[in-house]
């Protein structure tokens, strides 16, 4: 595999995503955690661009960084207090670390060409499909127009689309009712 610009960009965004992700779960200041979360999400947006999904990248920046992360900042400032016990992690921290490491290794085993060499039964099939996908097929890419058509056409996703609005409304009203302060 030669070193192309795409690979360089991919590695940059991957390091950005994973490094900031690590900082999110390890930094002791919650405020810094959210800022690192933004960086991590931005890295994911960059990966979306590399995967030729620019609209999703824009949504990622708009919704995740612009709305969700900012709402988290608000809530952190809303619930700011001195924690009674300053520890960052709970008692199952070691177990969680082991579990996450096992999860990662298991996924690695199933997802990478490594599985082909070690030779698991189930993993083999997956690994063949994944290893063949060395190069993305060049077809016409999905444009935003096509996306818009898919959202509303009857053969497309019109039902999930409408249900989405109900989910959002329910979430909105629920959040307002739950977060009310006066009846505390």
């Amino acid at each position: 595999m030669e070193l192309t610009w795409e690979l360089v960009a991919f590695l940059g965004f991957a390091v950005m995503t994973l490094g900031s992700g690590l900082m999110v779960v390890t930094s002791s200041n919650l405020f810094h955690s959210v800022l690192f979360l933004m960086t991590s999400l931005f890295g994911v947006a960059g990966l979306f661009v590399l995967l030729v999904a620019p609209f999703l990248a824009a949504i990622q920046v708009l919704v995740y960084i612009g709305a969700i992360a900012v709402l988290m900042l608000f809530v952190i400032m809303l619930t700011r207090q001195v924690m009674s016990r300053p520890e960052l992690y709970n008692q199952q921290m070691a177990g969680a670390l082991v579990a996450a490491a096992i999860l990662f290794l298991a996924l690695l085993f199933v997802l990478t060409p490594l599985a082909d060499e070690i030779g698991g039964d189930v993993a083999q099939v997956n690994a063949e499909v994944i290893a063949e996908a060395d190069d993305a097929p060049d077809v016409d890419y999905i444009t935003v127009e096509e996306l818009g058509r898919a959202f509303v056409t009857r053969n497309g996703f019109v039902l999930p689309f409408e249900v989405t609005s109900i989910l959002l409304t329910a979430a909105m009203i629920g959040a307002i009712v739950v977060a009310r302060e006066d009846e505390a």
């Binding site: 690979l7 979360l37 994911v44 995740y64 993305a136 959202f151």
Partner: protein, 102 residues
Amino acid sequence: MVPLWMYLVVSAGLFSIGAFGVLSRRNAIAILMGVELMLNASNLNLVAFWRYINPGEINGQVFAAFVFVVAAAEAAVGLALIISIYVKRHTVVAEDVNLLKW
């Protein structure tokens, strides 16, 4: 061209990091952040598979868009719950909320 498995490894790493955060952090907001990381990892997976295996179909991108919506709803309700718990019990530590715990 970057092979597919590299994207999958990044996604798996992000998911594991998020899972670690969810399982080990004490602050409820930090737990929510771990959940967001995991959702992002799954989204990355969806888009990567769409791009490499089935780029002619639109399903991958639409699915990812719906994941965004669900993530927004989840964040709104989760953060409202955290505010409510903070107002009523004056804590944001997940393990202090043990009224219903047996």
